[in-house]
Symmetry: C2
Subunit: 189 residues, 2 copies
């Protein structure tokens, strides 16, 4: 599975491509940081991020896009721009029928370091080790994008299976409710 | 001036078109609320909002798009979706070279009611009166989109003039600093 990991942002947006193999083996295929100047108009900045995302999607044709989920509580001043950047990337993926999934920062940290409260240095170190890279990915946004992609390689299939199982359980519950309703109707008639 | 006003959102996104005439006269040309089901995938919801925004921009060819600025503090659970919806609309406008401006909720309220702390009912009442509408626009998102468009019709030209004046002042200051630097170089030589 080929996963495009995204650490969304307007000033710096990390994008990475990771391929998963057997078991937990993962390989980094590409990583980049899209930057837009903070004095540029918002629409222009979003266009740059969107254009780059489209380019990545068209060139690399990933099987899924994994984006870090932003929380409004963190860094209020930049949270809105971060959400908007994530939004235009999700749009670009949706326009190409590539499924988009979100992972929270602690899910990403837990996946790569074993602890949801790991710091940036630990995440970078583990990403470097997991991918067998010669040097640490820089800046932090690049390492984060790789971490998100790794996280999805490992959690994604399980998430899909769980969603599938939940759908089946809901369908079974609905059938059960209908049978009960029918039985009641029958006893009334 | 033709202004497309947007009250961004994923569940309900208000879009309105208002034309300004002489002085403070404004006319509503169209208003609609784009809805997307909350159980739909985020990328799909963003695509719907984006497609509708593109359609409005292409059909109505507004001179500007005015979007209500979202704050992370308000309604944390929906703020991210709201920002993402605003982001894809700003992107659609940028792709068509239509300038995008943002107004805060209190700027919008102050523009139409005279008070930045007016409630929804007051905003709706004033929008209905200002636009000379026979019935109140419904739902609240439609009234809000109209209010944002009106706000931009009235504040927009002033904002552009102020931005222009600030640019000129900055250029003058830069020239002044350069002259001083040159004079110092001259006195040293």
């Amino acid at each position: 599975m080929r996963v495009m990991g995204v650490d969304p942002g307007l000033t710096r947006c990390g994008i990475a491509l990771v391929e998963s193999g057997r078991g937990r083996s993962v390989t980094a295929l590409d990583v980049d940081v899209v930057r837009t100047p903070s004095d540029m108009e918002l629409a222009e900045r979003l266009m740059r991020v969107y254009t780059q995302a489209c380019h990545w999607l068209d060139v690399h044709q990933p099987d899924a896009v994994a984006i870090e989920r932003v929380f409004a509580q963190n860094q209020v001043s930049t949270a809105m721009g971060t959400a908007q950047a994530g939004g235009v990337i999700a749009l670009a993926a949706g326009q190409r029928d590539v499924p988009v999934r979100f992972h929270t920062p602690s899910e990403v940290k837990a996946a790569v370091t074993g602890s949801g409260r790991a710091d940036k240095a630990q995440v970078t170190m583990m990403v470097t080790r997991i991918l067998g890279m010669q040097t640490k990915p820089k800046p932090a946004d690049a390492a984060d994008a790789l971490a998100i992609a790794i996280c999805h390689c490992w959690r994604g299939p399980m998430m899909e299976r769980m969603a599938e199982a939940q759908k089946k359980a809901e369908a079974a519950a609905a059938r059960h409710r209908q049978r009960i309703a029918e039985a009641r109707e029958g006893s009334r008639a």
